[in-house]
Subunit: 376 residues, 2 copies
DNA sequence: TTTGTTCGTATGGTCTACTAACAAACGTGA
DNA sequence: TCACGTTTGTTAGTAGACCATACGAACAAA
């Protein structure tokens, strides 16, 4: 996974042959990861490298226990039967952690395909600051005991603003400010750790496991409203790592409710799950529909400008299905259609995530795969 | 210049040592281009490559006439005096062409620093289709005769949707549909040609010559309203190469004028130069201010969502100064501030371009520099 | 003159991926 | 059955890219 952040514009780092080598190693892994078992000759054809080079690369990956020979091809055809290879899918496991819920931190042990092998969670008990960091540590320790293979790394999706080095610059709900979560966990557990914003992590999950487009936006609705942007297959971080912070953008030109931030008509006042649930409580179905349609319309208003500017082709919603599915989703689609140029965006699809509640956990695992093996 | 487009997500191309080499050659050129004369030892320190390697790279660049020795350092210090190098700034010239104006195509011969050495233009005479392509050819031929050094390449900024290979997918004003402008001009002139959307080209110009940020949006206001986006130093093209097409996004929730596209309240109805000029004609100064402030406010409404989602740090306006400078610009700034979260965007600056009318021509030149030499 | 510094280059070595050639293992058809 | 072509994976040798080391040249300062 490559990120787009506000870093140096111009090429600044030298590039050595060994960098090319590690790129090509990832290329071999990616071929096996996404397309299943292949022979060395297959990989050579798929990547454009020669069979000799592929043999050499594969030998290195086998020595690192990342690839295994799984038998001979049984195709009936002339020529020597090929030796089939695959990623050593049981050799390593990954820990994925989701810190985005208010009440409890959740985590899981994942295999290399992103399947959940074991879960754990820990109540937050309103902890903040260092106490909350300790909760993360406990959760990871607990998960570590549930692993049944060497650990490839630990991925963490955190709320708030997270920089490129995994420092949580600001997460008000957890009372975190410049918490070097990635470095702290690396020191504590001695394994690769990668920390990123929860909405960005969810976006990555949808891309890796949900067959999302290369130009996609994911809106995550919970206590707040956040978004992640995948542009040309790259995750956008923003000039201050605050991309996707759309919760406090004012939508429309006709007022709205007062927000905790002091403004009127922020996106969160229309869409945050607790607010929507409160509004809907006790209402008859018909009136509920009206409120949900209005919320979807507002989301569409905010998205229209973004969809137009970025020419994204897919908008994915993540959050409570009882709020988002159906009316709200349809109203959003309609609102965007009415407000943008059809010829550019007729291919725009709006849909719910297919990954449900585990989206952040699985995305966190995907981050580790990307960072450590270069596959997605 | 790297682009972000809706292409393959996963690494798909092998990387050979020679790719690293060409990267490092660009690195050496970039060091000289942006920081002026350096010795080989200076370049080695700046790039992290060894003096031996830099000597080798420089020898290749000198053989290609891209770099020259310009004398000895006269620093008073111990040690052998260094041999100063510079990009051979007079050895090549570039042709930049701007097709975005309605009445005439404009172009210029540029040196490697982007300075305009000679200009030419040709009236469009309402030509469309192949006749308009012929006008482009005439203009380039005329400019070619004005060059006084070998041509590095030809850059063209075209209105409409332009894909990664320089095919103008759609430019209604010129009656172009799937016009392979880049391939046609390459065949005609036998020199490297690069074609891109005018707003994107202007964005590149501002980045190269105007000291713009790595996360920046440029809004180009003329007969229509278009935008270019620079994210993490990369130009965004969009899933269908239609990024920045914000002219027909509806802003606000309170109606607006009827647009040619059939919708009400599109950004163009508020901001397109001809419409604004028409509204302002004959009005006293005070009323003009109100209309310009309203236009700026509307631009701010559309930008707020984008600024929030992308966390961009700079918004640059390009277009008629008598409309944009002052009131409109200030109203835009204010509108965005009122509609976004200050803590994420307090570093947002809104300003006019410093490049004036020649922004597309110079950006087109910058594209050629990026594509051919890897410098910006 | 001596000493230490800095520059640019020559030399040899390592790493990467390539081409060419080959043995092994398999169908096919005479 | 056996020669033949095909495909796989390996070995051997080559070209390119960069590095570490070492060296002469050219200078300032003592």
């Amino acid at each position: 996974m490559e990120f787009i952040a506000g870093r140096a514009l111009r090429p600044t780092a030298k590039r050595l042959p060994e960098h090319g080598r590690s790129h090509n190693l990832s290329l071999v892994l990616q071929t096996l990861y996404s397309e299943g078992t292949h022979s060395r000759a297959d990989i050579a054809r798929a990547t454009g490298l020669t069979r000799v080079t592929v043999s050499d690369l594969v030998a290195e990956l086998i020595a690192d226990f990342l690839v295994v020979e799984v038998g001979m091809s049984e195709d009936v055809r002339p020529g020597k039967p090929s030796t089939l290879l695959d990623i050593n899918r049981t050799a390593f496991q990954i820990i994925g952690v989701d810190l985005s819920a208010f009440e409890r931190f959740r985590g899981a042990v994942l295999d290399l395909d992103g399947n959940i092998l074991a879960v754990a969670d820990i109540p937050l008990d309103s902890c903040t600051g260092a106490a909350a960091v300790a909760k993360v540590e406990s959760l990871i320790s607990e998960l570590l005991e549930k692993t049944t293979a060497p650990l490839l790394g630990i991925g963490i999706g955190s709320p708030g603003i997270v920089d490129f080095e995994g420092v949580v610059l600001s997460a008000p709900n957890l009372g975190w400010e410049r918490v070097e979560l990635q470095a702290l966990m690396l020191e504590r557990f001695g394994k690769p750790v990668v920390v990123a914003n929860d909405a960005n992590v969810a976006t990555l999950a949808e891309h890796s496991f949900g067959a999302a487009d290369a130009d996609m936006m994911l809106v995550k609705i919970g206590h707040g409203v956040g978004a992640g942007l995948l542009l040309g297959g790259h995750l956008l971080l923003g000039s201050r790592f605050a991309s996707g912070e759309i919760g406090h953008v004012v939508v429309g030109t006709d007022g709205g409710e007062l927000c905790v931030c002091g403004k009127y008509g922020c996106l969160e006042t229309w869409l945050a799950a607790p607010r929507l649930d409160a509004k809907l409580a006790g209402l008859p179905a018909a009136e509920r529909e009206i409120i949900l349609a209005e919320a979807g319309d507002r989301l569409g208003i905010a998205m229209a400008a973004i969809v137009g500017a970025l020419n994204i082709s897919e908008l994915i919603l993540s959050g409570p299905p009882h709020l988002l599915e159906g009316t709200l989703e349809a109203a959003t689609t309609n609102s965007i259609r009415l407000r943008t140029m059809a010829e550019f965006h007729d291919n725009l699809t709006v849909r719910m995530t297919t990954l449900g509640e585990d989206i952040v956990i699985r995305g966190a695992g995907s981050m580790v795969l990307s960072r450590e093996l270069g596959v997605s």
